[in-house]
């Protein structure tokens, strides 16, 4: 299945957001996520199913003013 993670195309096997993040190396990291522009809380990732073409945003803390 083809998804876009932070704008880059990836082919992933897993069907849920939690498993896809694990496969992409984000397991256990301090991140927050959105799918197709909608926030997905950490607790909802295991039951959030992905579809071909989904746009996933993965963000982390950074410096800000």
């Amino acid at each position: 299945m083809r998804v876009f993670v932070n704008g880059d195309q990836h082919d992933v096997e897993p069907r849920t957001l939690a498993l896809a993040l694990e496969e992409l190396g984000y397991g256990g990291k301090k991140i927050a996520t959105a799918v197709n522009g909608r926030f997905v809380a950490a607790a909802r990732r295991p039951d959030t199913n992905l579809a071909d073409g989904d746009r996933i945003e993965v963000v982390a803390p950074m410096q800000g003013g």
Binding site: I31, A32, F39, V59, A60, P61, M62, G64
Partner: protein, 257 residues
């Protein structure tokens, strides 16, 4: 000073971006005595996973964080970003920015009010980055904001307080709402001037981070803010057009012809 029930003794809120190094950032925060620092969030990519080390660094500072929605141009973007920030930083506080104009980073005040309403209803404690417009401020308070953060001047411009009259009027209209001058300050005297107007606090980033010596500048701003607050509490004189002799005239020796 009280923000949403949190009592703070420092009236300086400090941004964490654009410092020469994390070490200098940490020293600047210490020198400023700031208890609140602003942070943001960005796409986490690349092998280094920079966000993870920044998170550890911030946690080690022992300060409260105020995440922002910098870079958001729509209500949807800002609301989604606020939700991600609340989960990441484990705080209901959000510095709400909805930007309209990319040259001046002037807020989209219509989007700002709408996003503030949506977020306040969802339990967020919103710190809106706004202008000094009284009508907008009133709408923000109606939307649930219990702190207002008008700009002094465009972000990063170092111009100081562009509209003294507007900022003074805002203070007079909202005597009970904590007001923070956010953005546009360049030197400590700008911050002192904001405090002399009766503002509750000042939020800074670039003026400290991009100074030749950010640590010394952080200390200078802290002192200026304290001085300005003391001056406000001491009830400053009103300006007048003509001189008023400070030395008593009565009893002056008659030495003329």
């Amino acid at each position: 000073m009280d923000f949403y029930g949190i009592d703070l003794s420092s009236r300086l809120l400090l941004g964490t971006a654009r410092y020469p190094s994390p070490k200098i950032l940490a020293e600047a925060i210490k020198a400023s005595a700031a208890e609140v620092v602003t942070v943001s969030l960005r796409r986490e990519a690349g092998a280094e996973r920079g966000g993870q080390s920044f998170w550890s660094f911030i946690r080690g500072l022992g300060v409260r964080v105020l995440p922002n929605t910098a870079g958001c141009h729509t209500v949807t973007e800002a609301v989604t970003t606020a939700h991600m920030a609340r989960e990441l930083f484990d705080t209901p506080w959000i510095k709400l920015e909805v930007i309209r104009d990319d040259e001046t980073l002037q807020p989209d005040v219509f989007g700002l009010v709408e996003a503030a309403r949506v977020l306040s209803e969802d339990g967020f404690e919103v710190f809106p980055y706004t202008t000094e417009d009284l009508g907008v401020a009133d709408r923000l308070v109606e939307a649930g904001c219990r702190v207002l953060m008008p700009w002094g001047a465009p972000i990063g411009s170092a111009r100081g307080l562009n509209n003294l009259y507007g900022l003074r009027a805002l203070r007079a209209h909202f005597p009970e709402v904590p007001l923070v001058v956010d953005a546009g300050l360049g030197v400590p005297s700008h911050a002192s001037a904001a405090m002399e107007l009766g503002y509750d606090a000042v939020l800074l980033n670039t003026a400290v981070a991009e100074a030749g010596d950010p640590v010394a500048m952080a200390r200078a701003f802290a002192l200026a803010i304290e001085a300005g607050r003391l001056a406000f509490a001491a009830k400053p004189l009103e300006p007048r057009d003509m001189a008023a002799p400070s030395t008593p005239v009565l009893g002056r020796a008659a030495l003329g012809d």
